[in-house]
Amino acid sequence: MLKGNCINRFAIISFIILCVTDIPVSAQKIKLNTFLDTTSILIGDQLHYTIEIEQPKKISVSFPSIKDSLTSKIEIVKSEPTDTLVRGDNWLIRKKYLITSFDSGSYTIPAFKFAFKFENVNDTISSSQLVLKVNTLPVDTAKEIIDIKPTMNTPFSFSEIKWELLTGFVILLIIGLAIWIFMRFRKNKPLFSPKKPQEPPHITALRELDLLRSEKLWQGNQIKLYHTRITDILRQYITGRYGIYAMELTSDEILHALSSELNTDMELKMSFSKLLSLADLVKFAKAEPLPDENEISLLSAYTFVNRTKIELSNTNTDNNKELNNQE
């Protein structure tokens, strides 16, 4: 009889142990944790409700569908994106909700069920319940009604005031211009200064010839460059003086273009023609003129410029000087 009781007891204990240890292996591998930033808030304050699941990579866990509120009194302000981290062989999945409550009291956040599947077995795991206490402010009805919080300011941007800035700038510009015009009238000065007259071509040419003489090119055996410079200076002078694009003309064409101007001074025409011919020989036929011929070419260039230049009248010159002084 005793032996039979002993056998029964052993069978019952074995059954209980088996029942207790029959928890799925997969559920043991999933760690679920939910928590709040704080358990007590002032009415209207915001806090995070965080769900963390640590699970093996091969298990897929489904989150419960939580839409706009956790309970009837706790609202979800914002659902933040799910964050997934690797922790060893596991995934750590973290989901945060920004929540708030506008009713004072103590509220319980219910447990949520998370479904998962492991080796063709469907199962669930539950989160723990949490309590959130929402405090209110003591209301003194005798006092004036005031805001609980000051008004929140959005970040400042210049684009908000661009038109005001532009308008202000234009107004300042108009005022400045008006003052400048008033001052010019008061000093009896014209509004706009006349354009500074361009340097007469003969001044430029004579300056360039002086520079060429000082460089002593032919004395340094740079005869080709020397004659090229002389003809270039004269061609630019002719362009400025007569409006003939001499830089694009050959020697014969230049002489032909100037024939009406030079026919009145045959001596000048001859010396200018000789200058161009000699320059052509030096430039294109390796000619090496005698030192005197080099000097004569430069002198002929000076003569050509001096005899064909248009002198500004004294009145104009005086006016120009006056204008320059005023500037």
């Binding site: 090229t228 694009y245 830089m247 694009e248 003309l249 050959t250 020697s251 014969d252 064409e253 000699l278 052509d280 020989l281 430039k283 294109f284 036929a285 390796k286 000619a287 090496e288 003129p289 005698l290 011929e293």
Partner: protein
């Protein structure tokens, strides 16, 4: 002035060697009234070993000018009238079976001469034109298995008529490029035409005398090659050619949409060579910018391709060359 020795010697040599130029001009002037530019162009082609394409309306003495030039030189002259039924064998020759020899013998065509007048070249189909143009380029022809060198000098003077385009075969651009010069002949002046009338109504028509041998021409060609061309002139030639290719680089952006293609390297060579020949004709031992400008139209007018836009706006290659010459800086 003490010029560099080589140029002075060259000038003296050219003065001596180019004396025949005046004689040719005098002899041609006996037969051809006016057309000074045409005569000069023919001499440039003759002296620089370049073939010439003559274009002009009928009756402007194109054929007569070429025939007269050939008459002044003791050389073989052939005139080939290009017709739609002409065959390459009619031009270069063929193999003929000889019963006596019992063998095929080579019968050389009219191309075996020193001066070839290809009259109305655009009246023959492309295969005949190609045969001629190949001979022009290679200076040799192959008949059967034998290759024959053509005579020296070998100068082709082709004429074409700008009107009556019906039934003609215009020369392709690539083949036109093989002509060194394209000379466009215009009507003579009133005084010149009066001389032409009187000359033709006279009892006897003047003829040109032979004053030169082929050896003289070959010798003159060597002298022409010795004419000195300074690097400034070379740069000027390159600027002109490059302005036809890249007008935007020479402040001629307006031509960018008007020029389809510019001058080829053959154009640069021809412009340089023709400039030297022109300097020789003017009895100078060196090239000056005037020489380049004088031959520029003849060398470039057939080497610049125009777009449809240019044709629609009636812009010619001559307009473009003029603008380029007025824009490119003269050295």
């Amino acid at each position: 002035m003490s010029e560099a020795v080589n140029i002075r010697e060259l000038n003296e040599r050219i003065q001596k060697e180019s004396s025949f130029v005046d004689l040719i001009q005098i002899e041609m002037g006996k037969v051809i009234v006016g057309q000074k530019q045409l005569i000069e162009s023919l001499l440039i082609g003759l002296l620089s070993d370049g073939h010439i394409l003559l274009e002009g309306v009928p009756g402007l003495a194109k054929t007569l000018a070429i025939k007269t030039l050939a008459d002044t030189i003791d050389a073989k002259f052939s005139r080939i009238q290009f017709t739609p039924d002409l065959l390459p064998a009619d031009l270069i020759g063929t193999m003929v079976y000889s019963q006596k020899e019992e063998n095929f013998l080579v019968k050389k065509g009219p191309i075996f001469a020193n001066f070839i007048l290809a009259d109305e070249i655009n009246r023959s189909p492309a295969k005949v034109q190609s045969a001629l143009l190949e001979a022009m380029q290679e200076k040799q022809v192959t008949i059967g298995t034998n290759t024959f060198e053509l005579g020296k000098p070998f100068l082709v003077l082709a004429t074409q008529n700008p009107i009556e385009q019906e039934g003609t075969y215009p020369l392709p651009e690539a083949q036109v490029d093989r002509f060194m010069l394209k000379v466009v002949i215009d009507y003579p002046k009133k005084e010149e035409e009066r001389g032409i009338i009187r000359q033709n109504l006279a009892k006897s028509f003047p003829t040109a005398s032979k004053i030169l041998r082929t050896e003289d021409i070959l010798k003159a060609r060597d002298v022409v090659k010795d004419v000195y061309m300074d690097e400034k002139i070379e740069k000027y030639i390159l600027d002109i050619i490059f302005a036809t290719r890249y007008p935007q680089d020479y402040n001629l952006s307006k031509f960018q949409n008007l020029i389809h293609y510019g001058g080829s390297p053959r154009a640069s060579i021809s412009l340089a060579m023709a400039s030297k020949a022109y300097a020789f004709i003017k009895r100078r031992g060196y090239v000056i910018p005037e020489d380049v400008r004088a031959v520029c139209y003849e060398v470039l007018r057939h080497r610049i391709g125009l777009t449809y836009e240019a044709e629609a706006e009636n812009i010619t290659t001559e307009n473009i060359i003029t603008e380029i010459l007025n824009t490119v800086e003269v050295p």
